[in-house]
Symmetry: C2
Subunit: 426 residues, 2 copies
Amino acid sequence: MIWSQKTREELLACRDQAAAELEAYRAQSLKLDLTRGKPSAEQLNLSSGMLGVITHADDCFSESGLDCRNYGILDGLPETKQLFADLLGIKPERIIVAGNSSLNLMFDTVVRCMLFGVRGGYEPWGRQGRIKFLCPSPGYDRHFAICRSLGIEMIPIPMTPEGPDMKQVRMHVCSDPSVKGIWCVPKFSNPEGVTYSDAVVEELASLRPAAPDFRIFWDNAYAVHELYDEEVPLADIFALAEENGTVDNIFYFASTSKISFPGSGVAIMAASENNIHQIKPILSTQTIGFDKINQMRHVKYFGDADGIHAHMRRHAAVLRPKFDAVLDILEAELGGLGIADWTSPRGGYFISLNTMDDCARRVYRLAKSVGVALTEAGATYPYGCDPRDRNLRIAPSFPTLPEITAATKVLCTCVKLASAEKLLEE
Amino acid sequence: MIWSQKTREELLACRDQAAAELEAYRAQSLKLDLTRGKPSAEQLNLSSGMLGVITHADDCFSESGLDCRNYGILDGLPETKQLFADLLGIKPERIIVAGNSSLNLMFDTVVRCMLFGVRGGYEPWGRQGRIKFLCPSPGYDRHFAICRSLGIEMIPIPMTPEGPDMKQVRMHVCSDPSVKGIWCVPKFSNPEGVTYSDAVVEELASLRPAAPDFRIFWDNAYAVHELYDEEVPLADIFALAEENGTVDNIFYFASTSKISFPGSGVAIMAASENNIHQIKPILSTQTIGFDKINQMRHVKYFGDADGIHAHMRRHAAVLRPKFDAVLDILEAELGGLGIADWTSPRGGYFISLNTMDDCARRVYRLAKSVGVALTEAGATYPYGCDPRDRNLRIAPSFPTLPEITAATKVLCTCVKLASAEKLLEE
C-alpha cells in the first residue's frame, strides 16, 4: 500500500515500528560502511597474478627494446597504448598512458586549461573571469571537488535515464561562452548506473558551444564494468565527434583502478591529435615520464583486450551477488510503498536511492546513529547541495555479503522512519 | 703552455691539428651521447632484486594491516615515510610520499602556488602580476622549464664553489616582494656538483624575504649520491630554518629515481606541518592516493636507510670509473692550457666544463657534427641563455667506459679547435 494513502494512525504505527526496529539495530552496535566504491579484497585477489609477471630485469624490456626501468617515453609504452586502444576503441596516437589515477589526470587537465588554456591560443581559463562547468547530477563528488577547489562555478544538470538532460545542456553550452566544460561518466554513471543513450552521445558530439574553448570531460571510469552477462554498449564519442567536426572538444579518461588495483593501476587520457600536440610539451615540463614498469606489468598480465574482458567477468561474479542482495532487500522492504525509488544498474559500482523529498539527510543521520555509514547526503550534487534532499549513493562492493545485507536492512528501516515522519508533518 | 701566450703561428698549428683530429673522428661515424643524467643498465641491475620482493597478495600489507593494493592513505605509507625520514633526517610527519617523480611534485607545487597560493591566505602567485624566481646558474634545465612555461621571470644567480652567491640572493629576496622562490640543488648540484656550504645553508635559512609567500625549492636530488668513499655532509635546512623561524619557507624534494629505477621510483615532498596542512586538502582533490605497492616495494627491498647507503656504494662503484675517465682525459688533454676549466664532483651525475667565453655553442656544434651529442650549450641557464656562452654539462653515467673515453677525447678536440679559433680572432 502506498504510504501517502495511509491514515495518520497507520503512519504513526509505521513510524513507531521503524523506530523500534532502529533501536534494536542500535543495540547490536553495528559498524557497517556503504560509503565508497572500493573493490573488496576478493576482487583484488583476482589480480594477484599481476604481482608476479615482472620479477627480473629481463621482464622490463618493451617490444621495441626499450628498458622500462629507465627514463624515456613521456606518453606511455606503445604496447600499453595499444592495449587501451583495443579495449576502448581509440586510436593509439590519441592516448597518453600515465600513472595510477585518472582523477589525477582530470585535475591536471583542468589545471592546465586554467593556466595554459586549450589549444588554439585561447586565453587560459584562469584569466577569463568567472567560468562554469555543467554537472549532470547526481554525479561524482570528486569531479565537483575539482571545480569547487578551483573556483569554477557549477551548474547542476538533471540526469534522465538516457543521460544528462540535453535540452538544458544545449541551452547552457550554446548560449553561454563562460560554460567551459561538462563532466560526463557516460557508462554506468556514478551513482545512478545510467549509460548514455546513442542519441545523447550524438547530441553531445554535435554541440556547437558558445565558448570556442569548451571541453567535454568524458570520464569513462566503468567502460568494461558490466555486472551481468549482457554487454551494455556505449556510442563512440570520438567517431561521432569526428563526423560533427568537434573532435577537439573531447577529453577522454579511463583507468584500471577497478580492473587491477585501485592504488596501483594505470590511467589514460585520450584526445584528438591537435589536443595531444598541445598537451605533450606542457606534460614534458611536469614529468620526464610515468611508471613504465607498471604499464608493462598490465600488458604482461592481461595480454590483450579479451584478457581484460575475461578478467572483468570474474569481477562481476564477485560483485553481482552484492548488488542483487541490495536490490532484493530494497524491493522486499520498500517496494510498492511509494516512499523511495532506486536504480538497478547493469554495471558500475553504485546503486542510487531516492527517498521522498527532504528525507535523505535524515536517513543519512539515522543510519549513522546506529553505526551504518552512508556516503553523505548531498555529496552527489555540486556544492554538496541536493536541492530536493533525496539522493543517497549505495556502494556495495567493499563490504561482505552479510554486512551488505545487514546494512541495507538498516537503511530501509531509516527510510521508513524518515518517510513516516515526513508524511506525518504534512 | 697557456694558449693565450702562444704566437699566431703556434695557434694556427693548434687549430690545424685539432681540425685534422676532428676529421679523423668524423671518418669513424661515431654515435656517442653525453647528454642526460640517466643511469646505465649496469646500475639498474643493482635494483633488480626489488622486482621480486612483492609477488603475492600477502606481500601487500603494511605493518598497520593496510592493504596497499586498495584505495586509502593520501600521503604515503607510514613505513615509506619512515624510510625517507631516516635517510634524510626529516620528521616523518613532514613528508608526503608520492608517485615516481620529484619533478612532477615540483611542477605541481609551483602550480599549486600559482592557483591556490601558499599557506596564510596570501593571494595566489598567478594573480600577483609578474613574479620572479632566483635561478642559481648553471643549474637544472627542468627547473627553469617549469618557470618558463608558467611565465615566471627567472633571475640568474651566479654559483660559487660554496653555493649560490648569497649577496645577490639576499639583495633580491630581501628587497623585491615579487621574488617568490629560489631553485636549489643543495648537494652535488646539477651540473657543477657543488654542495652548499654550512654558511650558505644557514644564510638561506635565515633570509627575511620581502615576499611573505617566498619559498625555497630545495631539490635534494643527490642526497645520498656520493661517488667516493668520503661522505659529503649537507647542513640540515629544516633544523636551521627552525632556529630562524623560517621553516614554512622550505619546500623539500627528493626521490629514488637515481637510487632504484628512474621511471619507477618513489618521490617525496617535505614541508613544515603548516605547509603540509595547507597542501593535503588540495592534494586530496587531485588524487585519492599514489602507488602504495611501489612504496612498499622500496621498503621491502631497502629495509632501512643503511640499506640504501650500502646500495649507493654499489652505484658509486659503477659510476666512479666513468667520472674518473672523463676527468683524466680532461686533465691530459686540456690541463694547463688555460682554455677550459671543469669541476671534479664528489657525487651526483655531472661534470661541468667551462670553455673560454663564447666557445660553448661552437664546441656543442662541432661535437654534434662528428656524432657526439652534448647537452645543448646554454641549457644550464635560464631561457637557455648562457651570458658568457661557456658552460657545457657532461653526463658520464649512461654510456659505457669506452664510449665515454671516446666521447671525451672528441670533446677535448672540439674545445681546442674552438679555443684556437677564438684566440686567432682576438
